[in-house]
């Protein structure tokens, strides 16, 4: 990867970030970030559950509030975004509105944006590929794509997406010509970015519903292309 720049002793102190080391209850690093045994309740897990119980007992929150929020989260799935993308592919007026007034269009389409967040839709073309990352945390258009996947929150993606986006896309199976401009968008909490990928060739005459089956979550983050029409069953 690119070595980055010389600044503030970041590269010359000998200090190295530990990377994606995750440890299980015995302190052993394990391979999969966030993987936990159901039977073992870690310290932070038990403290989270303790806080929930205490907040309910004190009447700070209602007994069903968290369950209701879990229900709301369960409605946030990548097919929400795929529906919008497929509609934009077949309906030029809808696409223009989605790009011009994204938040209003998302609400009109029946989805509930996150509290305070604005939504921006970035259109990929034959000459421009957008790819979204949040280097500081995990900002993500959850209303349209659900909670971010583990890899989006991983230290390796947050580190590498800004310095070698094409190498990252290549890992996801997308190889771009050098004359395609790659725009990495480092996402801000108040602005959530949804990538509008290019409609695959060979899908002329397809219905919105059928097109939506090609629109993957990763293509709406911008790290890969939609599925090819050959890859789905008729």
């Amino acid at each position: 990867m690119s070595e980055g720049k010389d600044r503030g002793g970041f590269y010359d102190t000998g200090w190295q970030p530990a990377g994606d080391v995750h440890r299980d209850e015995d302190g052993r690093p394990h391979d999969h970030p966030g993987l936990q045994e159901d039977v073992v309740l870690g310290v932070r897990a038990s403290r989270a559950l303790a806080m929930h119980e205490l907040l309910v007992e004190k009447g700070v929150i209602g007994g069903h509030d968290v369950d209701d929020a879990i229900e709301l989260w369960s409605e946030r799935v990548p097919s929400n975004g795929a529906t919008l993308v497929a509609k934009a592919w077949v309906d030029p007026e809808f696409k223009a509105r989605l790009l011009e007034h994204p938040k209003e269009t998302v609400v009109e389409s029946g989805f509930v944006p996150e509290h305070n967040a604005d939504i921006i839709v970035l259109e990929n073309t034959s000459t421009v590929q957008h790819m979204v990352v949040c280097t500081l945390c995990s900002c993500y258009p959850t209303a349209l794509l659900g909670p971010p996947p583990d890899w989006y929150k991983s230290f390796s993606y947050r580190s590498r997406a800004v310095t070698e986006p094409r190498a990252v896309m290549s890992e996801f199976g997308l190889e771009l010509e050098e004359d395609v401009e790659v725009r990495v968008v480092d996402s801000n909490s108040e602005l959530r970015f949804l990538v509008l990928p290019r409609r695959p060739a060979g899908t002329e005459g397809w219905s919105e519903e059928r097109l939506a089956t090609l629109v993957t979550r990763d293509s709406m983050i911008g790290v890969s292309a939609p599925l090819s029409p050959d890859s789905v069953q008729n």
Binding site: S2, G4, L136, V162, E164, V182, N188, L191
Partner: protein
């Protein structure tokens, strides 16, 4: 609506500061030059809101485009590649 300090096309330099409070300016754009793409709106000030404040008054935010080669001198993937980040006005200086 306050008077905006920057317009699309303006060359800007991101302040090279690391205040101890929460802030959303990634380290790698600090002291780097970019171009204002657009004013994107007035937003609550996350730097005070993160510390119990109201976040008021709202502050102007801009989308700023950087050449990847400006951010990472050894960037080798393609010379035309860009990076966008949204920054509060007070992080920007005229370049």
């Amino acid at each position: 609506m306050p008077e905006l300090l920057f317009s699309p096309g303006d060359r800007v330099l991101v302040r090279d500061e690391t205040p101890p409070h929460h802030h959303r300016t990634p380290w790698y754009v600090k002291a780097r030059r970019g171009v204002v793409l657009e004013f994107i709106g007035m937003y609550l000030d996350s730097e005070t809101r993160a510390h119990g404040g109201s976040g008021l008054p709202e502050l102007p935010m801009y989308r700023v485009e950087f050449d990847q080669t400006e951010l990472w001198p050894e960037y080798a993937e393609s010379p035309g590649d860009k990076l966008w980040v949204d920054l509060y006005e007070h992080w920007l200086q005229r370049a």
